[in-house]
């Protein structure tokens, strides 16, 4: 089994494998995944900021775990994610639930894990961020995106992370989102100032 399997932007082809089956392992605490390789959490944060800021049309896809203030702390995390998207200048399209809506979906205003490619194609999204989506549905969607689109996928996961995203953080909480926003702001200032 190849240890060198890279999780890169697609289209990878007809029914690409789950990265886990190709030997990509999830990060341990303090680590993250970038394109199938383990890196430090900090390195991944910078990589995410670079990807988002160099994107033509980045979008955030908040899922139900963030869209609904169903338990304590969610509204605050949702606000932090919105602030991050605003800092990037990214668009936001919600994933309100997981039941397939094809062919009735309006891809301009929502994304669905069973056919995420429709929303990505419709809006010409080149970098996307999954956040607040239940892990099972995020993985289903991430594989479909990698198989059929050229979109670069980033997963901000509150649990163990996602091998099927090109960049994946784990254990993401409010502080982590705020840290990422600060890095984005900092990089923006550097770009505005001509860089170093």
């Amino acid at each position: 089994m190849s240890q060198e399997y890279q999780v890169l932007a697609g289209p990878e082809g007809y029914l690409p494998p789950a990265a886990a089956v190709m030997g990509v392992e999830l990060p341990k605490t303090g680590e993250a995944l970038v394109e199938g390789s383990l890196v430090s959490d900090n390195e991944a944060l910078h990589k995410i900021a670079d990807k988002l800021l160099s994107a033509k049309n980045p979008f955030f896809f908040p899922g139900p775990l963030l869209l609904w203030a169903w338990k304590a702390g969610v509204a605050e995390r949702a606000q932090a994610v919105r602030d991050l998207a605003d800092a990037v200048g990214a668009g936001v399209i919600p994933m309100p639930d997981y039941r397939p809506k094809y062919p009735m979906i309006n891809p301009a205003i929502e994304i669905n894990p069973n056919h995420p490619n429709l929303t990505i194609w419709h809006n010409k999204i080149d970098v996307c961020v999954f956040v607040g989506v239940h892990c099972h549905y995020a993985n289903i969607a991430l594989k479909i995106i990698r198989g059929g689109t050229s979109c670069y996928t980033i997963a901000l996961c509150g649990e163990a992370g996602h091998e099927d995203a090109m960049i994946s953080l784990r254990d993401v909480n409010l502080a982590k989102i705020q840290e990422l926003t600060a890095i984005v702001m900092d990089k923006k200032r550097q770009i505005a100032g001509g860089g170093k």
Binding site: L15, P64, R99, N114, H134, H136, N139, G147, A160, D164
Partner: protein, 378 residues
């Protein structure tokens, strides 16, 4: 009153007391410490006693809910409903019961349910038999569940208890079947080391599941388990395919925790020998005795005990068998599913000897393994 402790403390740090118990009693002792919310039972030989004993600890207050269902298909369905409702559930079956319930096992995996089920393996009809046989494991290989195979009552206790934290990890969250050879393990008595009775696993955290819990207390409130992706179009097929891949990926993600809790997916004695015996379950105990007898004859034989059948220790077996001249795979079934598995992953698989195979309740004399060893040595 039991105190909640970390899995690591329960498994590795807490002092262990040695008790002389049957495999069925080992099930009781594992479940007693597993913080199980609900257990659902149905009788079938040789499993029945284990679920009687689980009933006893329900009466003692170690489990919060317990009942007897009407057949195995119904029990496995009720277990699925309970698991979707966000509780930790346990059940057990075996042989014909496994086959009666079969449709549920792949459904559990597909629905990402971390159910722990003990299988006390038994032959299947016809003609009627109640005797030990591992043929049901062959049928279950591709249901998506994690499969651990106990050699003895100690393994059964350990694997069952460890199955819960393995199954319930967010990134895994699929069922774990713990298999023990009926009668040989369930109805015999041996020394088993168990953790103190006053400690137990942490409770199941339903809201870390990779899928929503069906309680109308978590989001999305508009949720079907599981959503239909069965319309006749490419989009639906692709979604279903990706779903199935995700279930396979979930089993792969269990490797690190299985490895750390069980001390590897397999265990090796005398790995450098020219002749290796690779097997699982009670055949390991017999093979170990055969290896000792072979040694007295001056024959150098190694033994590989496979603890985890799914996910399969593919890389480990490839590495171990690389230099072996012969690989002997004794099994308690007529189809030789383990030999087939091993043959399918190594390049020079004509060195795999799928023998001895015993079934129908026959025992496996050490002589039958020794005969294969001598044949390979010649």
């Amino acid at each position: 009153m039991q105190k909640v402790v970390s899995p690591e403390h329960l498994f590795f740090e807490a002092p262990r007391e040695q008790v002389f118990i049957t495999g069925s009693e080992a099930v009781r002792e594992a479940v007693r410490r597993a913080n199980v919310d609900m257990a659902i039972s149905y009788p079938i030989t040789p499993q029945s006693e284990s679920m009687h004993l689980v009933g006893d600890i329900f009466k003692e207050g170690y489990i919060r809910e317990y009942f007897r269902g009407e057949n195995e298909f119904a029990v496995m369905s009720a277990v699925a409903g309970a698991s979707m409702g966000g509780v930790r559930v346990f059940t057990a079956t075996g042989g014909p019961g496994t086959l009666r319930a079969f449709e549920l096992f792949s459904t559990w995996s597909g629905a990402r349910l971390p159910i722990v089920c003990a299988f006390m393996t038994r032959g299947v009809n016809s003609p009627l038999t109640i005797q030990p046989d591992t043929i049901e494991m062959s049928y279950l290989l591709d249901t998506g569940m994690i499969m651990l195979h106990a050699e003895n009552a100690q393994d059964l206790y350990d694997y069952l208890l460890k199955a819960f934290p393995i199954a319930e990890q967010t990134e895994v969250h699929i069922p774990v079947g713990v298999f023990a050879d009926g009668f040989f393990v369930t109805h015999t008595r041996e020394n088993v080391k168990v953790a103190p009775v006053d400690i137990k696993l942490p409770p199941y955290n339903a809201y870390s599941a990779p899928v929503p819990v069906m309680d109308m207390e978590n989001v999305p409130f508009r949720q079907m388990r599981d959503p239909f992706v069965m319309k006749s179009n490419y989009v639906s097929y692709a979604a279903h395919a990706s779903w199935q891949q995700e279930v396979m990926a979930a089993a792969e993600r269990a490797r690190p925790s299985i490895s750390s809790y069980l001390g590897g997916l397999l265990e090796v004695e005398n790995a450098d020998a020219d002749i290796l015996i690779i097997t699982s379950g009670t055949a390991v105990s017999i093979a170990r005795e055969a290896v000792a007898q072979a040694k007295q004859e001056g024959l150098n034989v190694g033994l590989v005990k496979i603890k985890c059948i799914r996910p399969f220790p593919t890389e480990e077996i490839r590495a171990l068998t690389k230099n072996a001249k012969a690989v002997i795979v004794p099994e308690f079934n007529r189809v030789g599913w383990l030999a087939k598995e091993i043959k399918s992953i190594i390049p020079d698989n004509d060195k795999v000897v799928g023998a001895p195979r015993v079934f129908g309740g026959m025992t496996m004399p050490t002589q039958s393994i020794l005969a294969e060893i001598r044949r390979c040595q010649a």
